[in-house]
Symmetry: C2
Subunit: 194 residues, 2 copies
Amino acid sequence: MVKTKKLSKRELILTEAAKLFKDRGYGGTSMRDLAGQVGMEAASMYNHIKAKDEILASICFRISGLYISQLGEISATEASYGDKIKALIRLHIRLMVEDGPAVSVANHDWKYLPEPKLGEFKQARKTYEKGFAALIEAGIAAGEFQPVNVSVALFTILSAVRWIELWFRPGRELSAEELEANIITVLLNGLERK
Amino acid sequence: MVKTKKLSKRELILTEAAKLFKDRGYGGTSMRDLAGQVGMEAASMYNHIKAKDEILASICFRISGLYISQLGEISATEASYGDKIKALIRLHIRLMVEDGPAVSVANHDWKYLPEPKLGEFKQARKTYEKGFAALIEAGIAAGEFQPVNVSVALFTILSAVRWIELWFRPGRELSAEELEANIITVLLNGLERK
DNA sequence: ACTGAAAACTAACTAATGTTCGTTACCCTT
DNA sequence: AAGGGTAACGAACATTAGTTAGTTTTCAGT
């Protein structure tokens, strides 16, 4: 089991890096900080990773890949558009709760990717947003949703779930399931009673 | 007019700093970068500001002060709770459109404030959120809103408007007024038709 | 025109950054 | 027991960071 050990050390670095990047930002995290958290010297980490920005890229693209593949699966189901949107909202919340630091990094620090990777990541994001928007548009065309501007609806939904990381502490006052139910209520039914 | 000139140079620095901080982040912006944008040498800026983090603090507290004072005014009116929430949403959108870079910095880079200031800023934010939440809670108690979790509603609304900066380009396809109307529709009435 | 302050400049300092180098310890296979 | 590759290390590299010191320029008020 040679590969296993190698990968697990590397993934330890990636995991700890995501936590630190989330807290202090990419630029605010030094390789020595990260090494201290991992439990080795900064130089030693270069046996497992190629460069600091490769760490960032690994985190970002793992998350974007997850989102895009899940979007494909959900789109392909036979559910109503409302249920598809709900499933996507649940996906975002679940990933945020389970993989919080990495999602946070992919949302905030992607802009520090060096240029070949930066363009690829932007494109991946655009791909995801286009797929999400297509569902909203189809839902409006089917009379299932209100005839609202598609971009506004898309980003209102996306942003509403991206900020969960900032205040949600699982088990404190609110469970993940209650969180899902409440957010879906607000976004799909609106705040006002009718 | 001695004071006027002094203030305008300082404010030029603050304005350009907000733009750079928004694009490259606080840590990703060097004093030499900023000086180049302002049109002077890095050392020269220290005739107008005390330190780099003082720039960050000025930007953050100016924005937080704006939000808190406006919240006070809106809370004191005699409108319905729905109209108060709408007014707050419009406030967020207007500030984002008119003062975009500074709002963006106050939303993303506040965590790099050094420790005495950091605590103050956190408290200011909490003050604002408490005031906002009180309006939602009162609206629910009055039967005007759905009995949803107050924190969830609060942060869903707050986050929905914070991301405008990322994709909204005024005059392109959508005006600020249409933006307001659409966001309010989604948040207050929900996406689904009923 | 003179003066004194405000504000610009050049140069430099210290600290910290990402990364590389050469070497050493470890450990699995033979 | 020996060999060889993996992964750890300490030291050092060049670069860049924020900031300060000292000096010169600009310019409004007398």
